[in-house]
């Protein structure tokens, strides 16, 4: 079948494995909602948080999802601005991931609030607090990013939805028609130009998003290992690495599921994998620099936390995460890079998944050891079932959303694919 038909196949046809998969994701999400209702009912005390370790899994989730959301614009920007058309097929996959993960990030923050019923106050007091609070800056940046990214995702998608509409019939066609109100022929040229400038605009916004997230932590001078001037780039490198790794996983999975082997070519994975390898290497270098500074001559707090990371209560987690989670995938990707024109998509996807999980743990490691310093038993923060279930749900829900979206919108730009 033609590429167009391949791309439209998920919309037109749903396999029977899809339903149990979605149902199980929905089930996990519902359990997570139930867990959240327990938290709403009894208070945040049902988590393992306490007056010393005030942030835990929820905030780690938040940073993680913000990080993953960088993939979309990174790849799209590479395509549109750098004219790296090789990555065109996965651009929309990445952008969808951006939207979904941004939504999850926002949800994670709301889950973490003690008074979610007062969340509207963030908007009411927005102007007054804009001068002072890094959280407000973060909300500004994330909201801007979300709006711009959604626009950037939606506008070029209209052409593909139109095409899908033409290729489908019945209620599907009708539903797709509702997605593109006011469609005009010939709007693609305008949208193209608009998208280009949108991409240019979103790039700095993307940088600022994760910088402001980094500033939430790095502007607190009293927190060891948080307070440093270079936190923005530090977090962004991790974001890019984890984002692209998750895109690779998604792309590999969908490529296999929907038989898009010809559309999403191996060299695309090779390129992404090489880039990820470099990013992970840079990140490892930054991690090493951070720990060295703290251990060598750090003030009491820094040295204490660093020792806890490397030799103390968090040592097992840290070394597992670094060696198994970061170094081994890096080494695999490095070796793969040196083998000319070679790429094993399966293994790349597996290593990318390991990277994603490792980066989640790295976000967790950022939050918890610094906060629990000095508490009698360091590491006294112990997540309860509520937090773990909500964590699982926070992965199940975006997957669910994504899966459903897969059935609604075409995931690959068909014009380009068609005209290649």
């Amino acid at each position: 079948m033609s590429d167009t038909e391949k791309i439209l196949r998920p919309i037109k046809h749903t396999s029977k494995e899809f339903y149990p998969f979605v149902a199980s994701l929905a089930f996990i999400s519902l359990i997570a909602v139930y867990a959240y209702s327990r938290q709403l009912s009894l208070g945040l005390g049902v988590t393992g948080l306490n007056d010393v370790t005030i942030w835990g899994i929820y905030i780690a989730n938040f940073i993680f999802f913000i990080g993953i959301s960088h993939a979309g614009i990174a790849i799209s920007a590479a395509v549109r601005i750098l004219k790296a058309h090789r990555y065109q097929p996965i651009a929309r996959i990445a952008e969808l991931l951006t939207i979904v993960s941004l939504v999850m990030a926002g949800l994670s923050i709301v889950i973490d609030l003690g008074r979610p019923d007062r969340a509207f106050l963030l908007i009411v007091k927005f102007v007054e607090r804009f001068r002072y609070s890094p959280l407000i800056w973060d909300i500004t940046a994330v909201a801007t990013y979300l709006i711009l990214s959604s626009t950037y995702l939606y506008l070029p998608m209209r052409r593909d939805i139109k095409l899908a509409m033409e290729h489908t019939s019945g209620w599907r066609s009708q539903m797709l028609g509702y997605l593109i109100p006011f469609y005009e022929e010939g709007e693609e040229a305008t949208i193209d130009r608009l998208s280009f400038w949108l991409a240019v605009t979103i790039l700095p916004v993307m940088v600022m998003v994760h910088t402001t997230v980094a500033w939430i932590f790095s502007l607190l001078s009293s927190r060891p290992l948080w307070f440093n001037a270079f936190a923005g780039p530090y977090y962004i490198v991790a974001a890019v690495a984890s984002g692209i790794a998750s895109v690779m996983v998604l792309a590999a999975v969908m490529r296999k599921l929907y038989h898009w082997e010809d559309i999403i070519r191996p060299d695309l994975f090779r390129g992404l994998s090489n880039f990820t390898a470099v990013t992970v290497l840079v990140y490892l270098y930054m991690m090493m620099a951070e720990q060295l500074a703290a251990l060598f001559a750090g003030p009491a707090g820094e040295m204490f936390v660093s020792e806890e990371w490397l030799f103390g209560s968090f040592a097992a987690l840290f070394w597992l995460m670094t060696t198994l989670g970061l170094v081994i995938p890096f080494l695999y990707m490095l070796i793969q890079a040196f083998k000319k024109d070679y790429v094993n998509i399966t293994w790349t996807a597996v290593m990318s998944l390991i990277l994603v999980v490792a980066f989640w743990f790295k976000r967790y490691m950022i939050i918890v050891p610094t906060l629990s310093i000095g508490v009698q038993e360091v590491g006294i923060y112990s997540p309860t079932w509520v937090e773990i279930v909500i964590l699982l749900g926070s992965f199940a829900l975006p997957l669910l959303l994504y899966s459903v979206l897969t059935k609604v919108v075409p995931l690959i730009e068909m014009e380009e694919a068609h005209h290649e």
């Binding site: 396999s15 988590t47 393992g48 999975v253 999980v357 309860t384």
Partner: protein, 367 residues
């Protein structure tokens, strides 16, 4: 002249001779008698002993016989002390009568009549302080103290307070004796707590300190009278162990730092104002001014009765409220049950990877 009136002239010649002879005999007799007489009545100036005087002065003898003078040598305490020091001769010059230091002999034991009135029939009458001071000085420096006690007591000689023969106080108690001059004062004191309890002037104003021959410190016989010269020790009567407030002075001066109002021993401030014992705040505030400020503000003391007196919580003699109990610790929040995060996550990741591999990556023929 003629021999004619020879017979008349011969008779006048015989009477004139008889007169001269009579004059010669009488004057010889007078000379003999007078040359055998002393200036004192008894030409006897040897020590005779007290019994000799008692032949005439029986009343005085009865008075003297019970006095301490009458046991100056034979008093067993004196003997014990004297022998323990090796029976030095220097003691005997006062403890006996008519002691000759060269011959180491004394005429009579004790301080008898002749010690003051002279040996035998001398019967001198010397009421001067120097006479008593001749013995009551040196190791028992009553005379020196009296001299130093100032002009006031300098006018009162020994006999004003002490009977010369019985040695007792002229008015039975020291209070009565002192009251001869210090009448209004004594009347006041008798109204006070100490006075009503029977404490006498001498109990505080004439405190005796024994002599220490070994160290060579003289006694204190209390005849300096002034309070500052005395070694006051309130604890000889009052059981009041001082804790922390004993830094206010040595022995009684700690007590007097607060209980300075003389005789009634109420609370006396540095500025001499006097307060009753149940109004302790001004006194305590003199030193503990920070605490006083806090008390005034209502932040120190009994919170149910903020204007309670200091002494309602603090024992003034042992003011530290020690052993303040330690209250229960506030229970810290129990750390949440340890959820085995790592194994669960590892298991989840493995399951995830397996599912993806099994379901997706292996390649399904028809999806």
């Amino acid at each position: 002249m003629s021999i004619s009136g020879d017979v008349n002239e011969a008779n006048h010649g015989k009477t004139h001779l008889k007169n001269v002879l009579m004059a010669l005999v009488i004057s010889t007799f007078i000379v003999i008698v007078l040359s055998n007489t002393d200036t004192s009545f008894a030409a006897d100036t040897e020590y005779e002993g007290a019994a000799y005087c008692a032949e005439c002065h029986e009343d005085e003898m009865k008075e003297w016989i019970g006095s301490s003078h009458a046991q100056a040598l034979t008093d067993p305490e004196f003997q014990e002390e004297w022998e323990s020091l090796g029976s030095p001769e220097s003691c005997l010059s006062c403890h006996t009568t008519g002691y000759d230091s060269e011959l180491n002999e004394y005429e009579a034991t004790e301080v008898s009549c002749e010690a003051c009135h002279g040996p035998g029939d001398t019967m001198q009458r010397d009421t001067s302080v120097e006479l008593c001071g001749g013995c009551h000085s040196g190791p028992y420096p009553t005379y020196e103290e009296w001299v130093d006690s100032g002009p006031a007591h300098g006018e009162a000689d020994c006999l004003m307070c002490h009977d010369e023969h019985t040695n007792e106080l002229t008015f039975e108690t020291s209070t009565g004796t002192c009251g001869q001059c210090h009448e209004s004062h004594v009347d006041e004191v008798l109204q006070t707590r100490h006075g009503e309890a029977g404490v006498e002037c001498a109990d505080c104003h004439m405190i005796e300190v024994p002599v220490d021959f070994i160290k060579g410190t003289p006694a204190k016989t209390g005849h300096s009278f002034s309070l500052s010269e005395q070694e006051l020790d309130c604890s000889s009567c009052h059981e009041r162990p001082l804790s922390k407030h004993d830094v206010l002075g040595e022995q009684a001066y700690s007590c007097l730092s607060c209980h300075g109002a003389i005789h009634e021993l109420e609370l006396q401030l540095v500025n001499k104002s006097v307060y009753p014992l149940d109004d302790s705040v001004p006194l305590c505030a003199q030193c503990h001014n920070e605490r006083y400020t806090a008390w005034e503000q209502g932040t120190h003391g009994d919170y149910d009765d903020p204007k309670a007196q200091c002494t309602s919580c603090h024992d003034p003699h042992d003011p530290i409220i020690s052993n303040i109990s330690t209250l229960e610790p506030i229970p810290q929040r129990e750390p949440a049950k340890q959820t085995p995060v790592l194994p669960i996550t590892a298991a989840a990741v493995v399951v995830e990877i397996l599912l993806i591999w099994a379901y997706v990556l292996r390649g399904r023929p028809n999806v």
